[in-house]
């Protein structure tokens, strides 16, 4: 087990656990924006809003922007109530701070499709409070009743044609006590929320100006490349850098916890010299680990008693009395996150301060680790989050940040560490592999009366947040593990089993494991019962209106049941994830032995949404992500080494494989659900079900192969 090898993380988690089990650490807000402001005077209305006397309104975004659109969605929530023009605001990423903790996750962390759900009330309230304060400041100045004043478009107007801009009022308003009991807008009054709006971050993303972590430049900055042990967790025994040190541009060669770093005046020189270092590694206990061992040990773990997630009715009796029984095992591999921006980080560690800039998803973990490594207090450390060139959960872990901090500390200079793609793919925290056994008993009519589900899989949560694993049940391993279908006897259990390879949260997390198993199995039951897969599911959803509704929409819009051209077939699947309900129909064919996806129809009920345009973007994104998982994603081990190194042997979908996507969103007044992740989990079972319908072959192992 390689978990918690990093002393910084261990210290951080210990101290946070001691503080009552939450991940909160108090951090003073560093004034990261000093020097970047316009000439005017800026006043902080609260943790989210700064208004400059020149009328610039800055809204802080406390979640990491990695494509999912939080840089739009969260400021929209604030702007809606603040009454400012969205197109004229400025957005900055928030520093680490108590105010920015994600209440759904207990830390300042972007993940779990929680950003909008966590911010929905909080950010609207922040906007509303600031608006009330601005109105009060105007009323005070004009000596009128605030009820006679109105805020709109960044100004307050009062009786007799009085008008003052937010910039003029901000300083006085910021000194008022934030009001309580502010009434939020009725949704019928929403100006922005629920309406499609173009992304304001697009402009700089199409002209190359957006600054990602890898684009950071500090005065006097050097570049680093780090050789890490080919077997994750291995350590340096000795190294010979004699040649590297003579190579052009090389300034330093330093050993850190995770390997040997070369620091040079350009990254290419650092990387070239790194390749010239000879390192003797102690590869550690995993050096003999093979992929077959992983599957063998997961299968072996199945014989252990599982932790109970659900026990209802009597499964043993139900199976005994069944007219027909069905049994199947599903196999899901390790996956790499592979965001297109490889891991990198820029650190400038000084004696009494540190400036850390980069692409991170978990600001508090970064702060905890940086503080532990440098010995500096959090208030001496400034952390700036840049735009992320993809995250997908990889950047929840801060290993690469810790490495940059160690290197900068060792050389006393600002340094940018950049991993190669090969470093990135072979030193990920991988999506856990898993085995899932399902069995069911059907009555004479084919209806399921009994369902048994057991999975064995490593737990990311045991590594990162062990305090939330209760009685052997990891809440992030059991997402979507329960089917929505009306089945009287159910036994659902899990076995947490570590296999040796370190694991991390990847987009959709365990939804992708459990929805694949459950929705494939439902299709197997429908086939065993001789029923149409759509009708079969629908008959079991009488008590689940939101599930039934999206299933019906997806079926209708896809033309379910209507004939298709020869050689094509449809498959259907259903899920709930992150409080969002989705159903999907995938249309497929097999051409020359290769699986081709033609069309994907998806119905989504995510309750109220902030920006339907971004919702559609995320749905599209999840489908392409799901396509990768279904067809390609497979990280394997040999002698403890991850065998895949780059995009030639860890393929990602490309333009020619892209299906037509049709998204149908339910207009809903339910509370908001998350949208950054769920659809990805739904694609694989829908495709597997389509391929079964087409070929009669049931694909229970991902990635799919027809061979």
């Amino acid at each position: 087990m390689s978990q918690l090898k990093n002393p910084a993380r261990r210290t951080f988690l210990k101290s946070s656990a001691a503080a009552g089990g939450s991940l909160v650490i108090g951090v003073a807000l560093p004034d990261m924006f000093r020097g970047l402001q316009a000439a005017g005077k800026e006043s902080a209305m609260n943790a989210w809003i700064r208004i400059n006397s020149d009328n610039t309104v800055t809204i802080l975004c406390a979640r990491s922007e990695m494509g999912q659109g939080v840089v739009m969605a969260l400021p929209t929530l604030v702007a809606e109530e603040l009454e400012v023009d969205m197109r004229r605001i400025k957005v900055d990423f928030a520093p680490p701070g108590e105010a920015y903790i994600n209440a759904m996750l207990g830390g300042q962390l972007t993940g779990g499709s929680t950003s909008v759900r966590d911010g929905w009330d909080k950010l609207r309230m922040a906007g509303a409070q600031a608006r009330v304060m601005l109105v009060q400041a105007a009323a005070d100045q004009w000596k009128v009743d605030p009820a006679q004043c109105k805020a709109a478009n960044g100004s307050v107007t009062g009786p007799g044609g009085k008008k003052a801009s937010y910039g003029q009022l901000a300083e006085a308003a910021s000194k008022l006590t934030p009001p309580k009991d502010v009434k939020l807008k009725d949704p019928s009054q929403f100006r922005y929320i629920g309406k499609p709006m173009k992304r304001l971050d697009s402009a700089n993303k199409i002209n190359g100006k957006t600054v990602f972590g890898i684009d950071v430049k500090l005065p006097g900055m050097l570049y680093a490349s780090l050789a890490q042990c080919p077997v994750i967790g291995g350590k340096v025994v000795s190294f010979d850098a004699a040649k590297a040190k003579t190579m052009p541009g090389v300034k330093h060669v330093v050993q850190i916890s995770d390997g040997v770093a070369v620091v040079a005046d350009s990254w290419w020189r650092a990387k070239t010299a790194r390749d010239a270092i000879k390192i003797q590694w102690d590869e550690g206990p995993n050096k003999t680990l093979q992929q077959a061992d992983v599957w063998k040990s997961l299968a072996g773990a199945m014989s252990k008693p599982g932790a109970t997630v659900k026990a209802q009715g009597n499964v043993a009796e139900g199976m005994k009395g069944a007219a027909k029984t069905v049994k199947a095992t599903y196999e899901m591999p390790f996956l790499s996150h592979s965001p297109l921006e490889p891991m990198n980080f820029t650190a400038d560690v000084r004696k009494d301060s540190a400036l850390l800039i980069g692409s991170i998803q978990f600001q508090q973990l970064a702060m905890g680790m940086a503080s532990a490594i440098t010995g500096l207090k959090p208030e001496q450390i400034t952390i700036k989050t840049t735009f992320l060139g993809g995250g997908f959960g990889r950047r929840i872990d801060c290993d690469y940040m810790a490495q940059a901090v160690e290197i900068s500390k060792a050389i006393g200079k600002p340094v940018k560490l950049v991993w190669t793609r090969e470093d990135d793919m072979t030193h990920d925290f991988y999506r856990p592999a898993s085995l899932t056994e399902l069995s069911a008993g059907l009555d004479a009519s084919g209806k399921p009366t009994t369902l048994s589900f057991k999975m064995s899989s490593p737990s990311v949560t045991m590594r990162l947040f062990p305090q939330i694993v209760k009685d052997g049940v990891d809440p992030l391993q059991t997402e979507a593990i329960l089917v929505p279908y009306d089945i009287p006897n159910q036994a659902v259990s899990t076995v947490i089993h570590e296999t040796g390879l370190r694991v991390g949260y990847l987009r959709s997390v365990s939804h992708a494991l459990n929805v694949f198993a459950n929705e494939s199995f439902m299709d197997e039951l429908a086939a065993a019962a001789g029923k149409d897969p759509y009708e079969y599911r629908m008959a079991l959803l009488a008590k689940q209106p939101r599930f039934a509704n999206v299933l019906k929409i997806a079926a209708e819009k896809s033309g379910w049941g209507k004939p298709l051209p020869k050689g094509r077939a449809r498959g259907i699947a259903l899920m709930e994830g992150y409080e969002t309900y989705m159903a999907m129909v995938v249309e497929t064919s097999v051409q020359g032995g290769k699986i081709k996806v033609h069309r994907v129809v998806v119905a989504t009920d995510l309750g109220r949404m902030v920006n339907p345009n971004i919702v559609d973007q995320q749905i599209e994104s999840n489908i392409i992500f799901g396509l990768q998982v279904a067809l390609y994603g497979d990280i394997t081990l040999k002698d403890g080494r991850v065998q895949q190194t780059n995009f030639h042997d860890y393929q990602l979908p490309r333009m020619p494989e892209t299906p037509k996507i049709e998204s149908h969103i339910v207009q809903s007044t339910e509370k908001p659900g998350g949208i950054g992740e769920p659809g990805m989990a739904l694609f694989s079972p829908a495709l597997a079900n389509a391929l079964y319908s087409l070929t009669g072959k049931r694909l229970r192992k991902m990635p799919f192969s027809l061979a």
């Binding site: 999912q68 921006e341 333009m655 020619p656």
Partner: protein, 153 residues
Amino acid sequence: MASLTINGKTREVNADPSTPLLWVIRDNLGMTGTKFGCGAALCGACTVHLDGQPVRSCSTPLSAAAGKKITTIEAIGATPTGKKVQEAWAALDVPQCGYCQSGQIMAATALLEAKPKPSDADIDSAMAGNICRCGTYPRIRAAIHKAAGTKGA
């Protein structure tokens, strides 16, 4: 010292002739719009134009760029086709994380320069070398059609 013509300007750089053009552009010249994704010409994030042709700068040595005109994302908007492509990208809100989009836009611009009215098959083949991990492909396709004034399938 090597001399480069990039975005219409001549720049002197101190780098070994075998250095990939990508790192010369990013580190020596400080232009970070061109991205590092794979280092092996597998993802297209580093795409720039050499005399109008799209190349993977991560696998193009500095020596191969000598005497040629280099165009990067920072200047592609100055060409009529590049401008049209960027406008279509904005109109259809293509980017998500945005990291691959410089390369996508460089590849799409080169496609439209060569084939002003591309078919879906043309788009498939010209864009197949550019990975988007966020999966913006449907919008990229639509944006290329929009820039070209053509309709997709």
